[in-house]
Assembly symmetry: C2
Homo-oligomer: 673 residues x 2
């Protein structure tokens, strides 16, 4: 996402310049290093990521044997000592996160530790560039998933190219954050091997768990080496040609859909299969479409995005409804009790939606990104920075008859992709705030802080002051070095108007007609909306103050009635946040709350609750069972809702996102004998 | 079940006498022809079976093409025109039912029609005795399940021996009811072929759907031909030796359990697989154990019975919990929402339990038989005699989120085994009332009527006068031709004491201590209980009146707590009847009723309701939703329960057998949007 233009004006530490791609995204990202947060929402999260999550993650890499695997690979002796051959990537991902984090919080000790790890990675790399501890430790007795030869199990199991992809991603971040090439050189050596092995006249495979494609594109951005882009495109084009699948089967493992491998990518129109793999593939498809101008890939990825936002996304931004295969369900198949919503899938969703925005410059992609970021993504990490969800539940019931997904967070997982993925996503968020197209500056996220954006070749300082996501009153102080005419394109989120999501999958049902107002230096300005952005075009002078007011009312959200589990129910949204009711605020229950059509909510900020949250309260009918367990009655109680992302930080108990408006019927669960 | 002794004294119409088996059941059945019902419960059911069910069944055999299949087989031309190769058996079974029924209601027209059908069956039989229209119509293009050669698909699909078994059963009944040999001769010719094809040194197979074993035993009883018994035993011993199954698989089709074929019968200890097949096998095992004295078979069948009554029977006598495979579940796996309970499985259960009684002379087997007969078996046929259940549900919910089994009866089914099985079971019930062991006369069922029982070679007339199952006051007028000393063994049902079923699977929890009182000619008599029977040993003289009073209180039944679905719930029983609450009596709902520990019920007979039933009523807490669907509350209402067997005769709606005592939790179902 880094642009040469930024690079050239010295905002980055890296010191090498390669050729800029001839074709690229029409919109240019503004790199994370150009933006400094000063806010109370994200900055504390990035700090705790730096002080708790990243150290804990490295500690787990050490204690579980992930680091030892590299040491044994260097020595060519021992026995692979963790569970999965892709356990290597937890180190790469934490290095990536630590690299981002280093640019926020310089930390010599951490930098030195990373270097020591990179040294171990380097020693585990085979002379020709191959890097995969699950085989290198003992090639005569590799991990069962690795296959007896290189690459032979890549399609289904080995994750050799998945490891490679995360290596490239880490190398890219490490290089730009530190200017060092020690990890980059390892990555390039590995990438050269991959490009020499795979290709139209060489070995063919559709990588089993996509990400090498994204990674190769990043190496292409650094080096300009066409083979990297070509090989990324080759891997994308390899999908859908494997003739051993059973096209008639409905089993996604048998028909290839699990791997997005059932039809060629250019013919894909629906999001299918493993949601994380899918998200990484779709990100790479956007990259390659942008960098090659391939219209068919563009058509495919536009259609798949449309499919997701109209039929396959949970109201809190979660992707991948189905536990079996961690995958997308059918259209409108979004059950609450068994919602899977892997944290990594939301992270992949952020990557993908940002790329869709860069392709099209439309706010709807950032609306989806914001929905994920503030809800179903950060719900994956506890406020303590060291407890995680692999899946993100949509409801938790006390009742044992209900199957629930993870009701409580864990410190780590055997397959621990999500915690390490969070370490790299959280410190990268500054990179999603601004973007550029010519002399138009996109303001996509609202986070107090400072940024230096190059317009007409000169930095424009923008200071955001707000209390987002709690307050919709936004202030931007715009300071070019000297007065200059350019546009600010401020995203007007769907939620600030009347759109819960850019489709009819979810809609506001409360008939509120919200209006955003904008002023410059105290004078109201009329603005036009273009692709979802308020265009403020003027000659800006130092210290101009742009104010944008987005009413943050409590909104009732209803799902498309084709979503069976949400029929007759509403969810609550305020600003970008989806709310939930949790047991801890509601006398131990949350599944007994009705939300009648006339319910009115009071919002109030509680600084001591859950690190500070705006809560919603209303007197609502609540169904209770008497002490003798002989009668059921409806009483009115003050019900408290908290932001969804903050649930499960106070122990285990009920949590609901969707609330029935009216009761059709009830089920009685008897007391145990 | 027919005994030579009865036969010899002229109680039967048949005119041939063959040798009596050397070994047999210790207890002798008293044949159905020796007992005439005059009661208001069973006699109307047998009448409607004669006037409605049997004619409707024959009409369906004609209209669906089942008769045409025989005509085409006779002509060796055409195309098998129904769905299953075992459709032939619907004709055999209805002939069997009609034969029993003819002995109750002489009917020349029906007898002639049966003869015309038998004539068609005879013409469809191949010269060597083979009889299977699905092949004979066109041997070059047999039904897909039939296999390209005789018997090759018998293990899994063809049902050739199943058809044979039902032919033998029908021939036995027809022969004893009418004295005619036209169907018997067809059966014997077929059985001779079967015995010539299968055996230790001949072709091997474990018959796919058992019944040929029971049928062969019946032909052995008529003819005394040892091959028939030997072949029945051979088929039983064939099970458990097929080496193509995967013993490690948990799939009952892959490990053979579906066919009771996973281990040899002598090693079987648990009821598994398809419940009807199992019931027919277990009946045959009892027959062969009795007729051969095989101790290992006896051990196996005793253990399997123990397994069923302690872990695998529903409270209304239903067998076979699992829809997939129509089979027994695991121990204590008795879910209510998806209970399968095929009507045929209850019928097979009656056959089996009667044989267990004949083996052991203990009342517990008749207790189970009575439970099935009065509850989960006759629930299979509507009061109109022409609407049927294939499965017998344990609960029906209005709520669409609940999967329900058949909520309403059908006229017939594509696989229509149950309706035709009912035609043969209903008119045979008189055969289960009495039995003999030396000069001890067992009185097993309580049905007003007359019987003539041979004691010391002379008929003893017994007249039952009662209002069973509504009233526990029973009167028996015992009239030997001249005074004679013998015992009457009157079954004291478990329910009349403190046993809901002969195991801890279900138990009464109401702490009532019921006591049965007995008098002869107005004088109370002390009696001893032997194997569950009150032994009244005296010199009986003509017109002696024995009165037995069994208190019919309303009892609360609880299931063993290992039955997950019944935890914290109770069922209601009065006399042999299990009750249910149905929508029609309870304002359209039944799933909202609580049954607190202190609930008291009033029983009252309603002559105009459901052909006359004793209903149970109580003021109970009932959970209701208000008209605006905004509140849930508990009110007290008069709840009416009806006998389970009588449900689903007034349209489609909720029905519950198990009621929560206390509420632990509830589920709210919202109204549709």
């Amino acid at each position: 996402m880094l642009k040469r233009s930024l690079f050239a004006i010295g905002l980055l530490a890296a010191n090498a310049v390669w050729a800029q791609p001839k074709k690229d995204y029409p919109v240019q990202a503004v790199n994370f290093t150009a933006v400094q947060f000063t806010d109370n929402f994200w900055l504390p999260r990035m700090k705790i990521n730096h002080t708790v999550t990243i150290p804990a993650s490295f500690a787990r890499c050490e204690s579980t044997g992930r680091v030892k695997n590299f040491e044994m690979a260097a020595a060519h002796s021992g026995k692979f000592c963790t569970t999965y051959p892709f356990d290597d990537t937890d180190i790469y991902k934490t290095i990536e996160g630590a690299s981002f984090s280093l640019s926020l919080f310089p930390d010599k000790k951490l930098e030195a530790y990373i270097d020591s790890l990179i040294d171990k990675v380097a020693k585990a790399q085979e002379p020709d560039g191959y890097l995969y501890t699950a085989r290198t430790i003992d090639p005569t007795s590799p991990h069962a998933w690795a296959g007896n030869e290189r690459w032979v199990k890549e399609r289904e199991l080995s994750h050799e190219l998945y490891n490679a992809g995360h290596l490239y991603e880490a190398a890219y971040a490490h290089y730009y954050a530190t200017g060092k090439k020690n990890l980059l050189n390892i990555a390039l050596k590995n990438a050269d091997l991959v490009c020499s092995v795979f290709g139209p006249d060489k070995r063919h495979v559709a990588p089993g768990h996509e990400i090498v494609e994204m990674g190769l594109v990043k190496l292409y951005r650094i080096t300009g080496k066409p083979e990297y882009l070509q090989t990324a495109k080759f891997f994308i084009e390899e999908r859908g040609h494997y003739d051993k699948y059973d096209a008639k089967s409905k089993d996604p493992w048998k028909n290839g859909a699990y791997w997005q491998d059932e039809v060629p990518v250019v013919d894909q129109r629906e999001a299918v299969g493993h949601a994380v793999r899918a998200g990484y593939l779709y990100s790479a498809v956007a990259d390659v479409a942008a960098l090659t101008g391939d219209e068919k890939l563009l058509q495919a990825i536009d259609s798949i995005w449309e499919n997701v936002v109209t039929k396959k996304i949970y109201v809190q931004g979660g992707l991948g409804a189905i536990p079996s295969g961690e995958r997308f369900g059918d259209n409108y198949e979004l059950p609450n009790a068994t919602a899977y919503n892997e944290t990594c899938a939301a992270i992949a969703g952020v990557y993908w939606n940002y790329r869709m925005f860069l392709l099209h410059g439309e706010s709807k992609y950032m609306d989806v990104l914001e929905k994920m970021l503030y809800n179903g993504l950060i719900s994956g990490v506890g406020l303590d920075g060291k407890s995680f969800f692999y899946t993100n539940a949509m409801q938790i019931r006390n009742n044992a008859s209900h199957r629930s997904m993870e009701p409580a967070r864990s410190g780590w997982f055997e397959c621990s992709c999500c915690p390490t993925n969070l370490t790299r996503l959280i410190p990268s968020i500054p990179g999603y705030v601004y973007a550029l197209k010519g002399d138009a500056v996109y303001v996509n996220l609202f986070v107090s802080g400072n940024a230096s954006i190059p317009v007409h070749g000169k930095p424009v300082n923008i200071v955001q002051q707000n209390n987002y996501p709690w307050d919709g009153a936004l202030s931007f102080t715009v300071s070019p070095q000297k007065s200059d005419a350019f546009s600010l394109l401020v995203r007007i989120p769907g939620w600030a108007g009347n759109q819960a999501i850019p489709s009819d999958l979810y809609s506001f049902t409360d008939n509120q007609n919200c209006k955003v107002t904008i002023s410059v230096n105290g004078q109201p300005v009329d603005y036009i909306l273009d692709k979802g952005y308020a265009v403020i075009k003027r000659t800006w002078k130092k210290g101009d103050v742009l104010k944008v007011n987005m009413p943050m009312n409590v909104r009732r959200v209803a799902a498309n009635e084709k979503v069976k589990d949400d029929q007759g129910k509403v969810a609550l949204q305020r600003g970008p946040l989806i709310y939930c009711a949790e047991w801890a605020d509601n006398d131990g229950k949350a599944a007994n709350i009705l939300l009648p059509a006339d319910a009115a909510f009071q919002a109030s900020f509680k600084p001591d609750l859950l690190n500070g949250v705006e809560i919603l309260q209303s007197d609502l009918p609540v169904i209770t069972v008497d002490e003798k367990a002989q009668t059921v009655s409806t009483t009115r109680k003050t019900v408290t809702a908290i932001p969804y992302y903050a649930w499960a930080n106070r122990g285990k108990g009920e949590m609901m996102v969707w609330f029935p408006v009216k009761v059709r019927d009830i089920d009685i669960y008897p007391t145990a004998p």
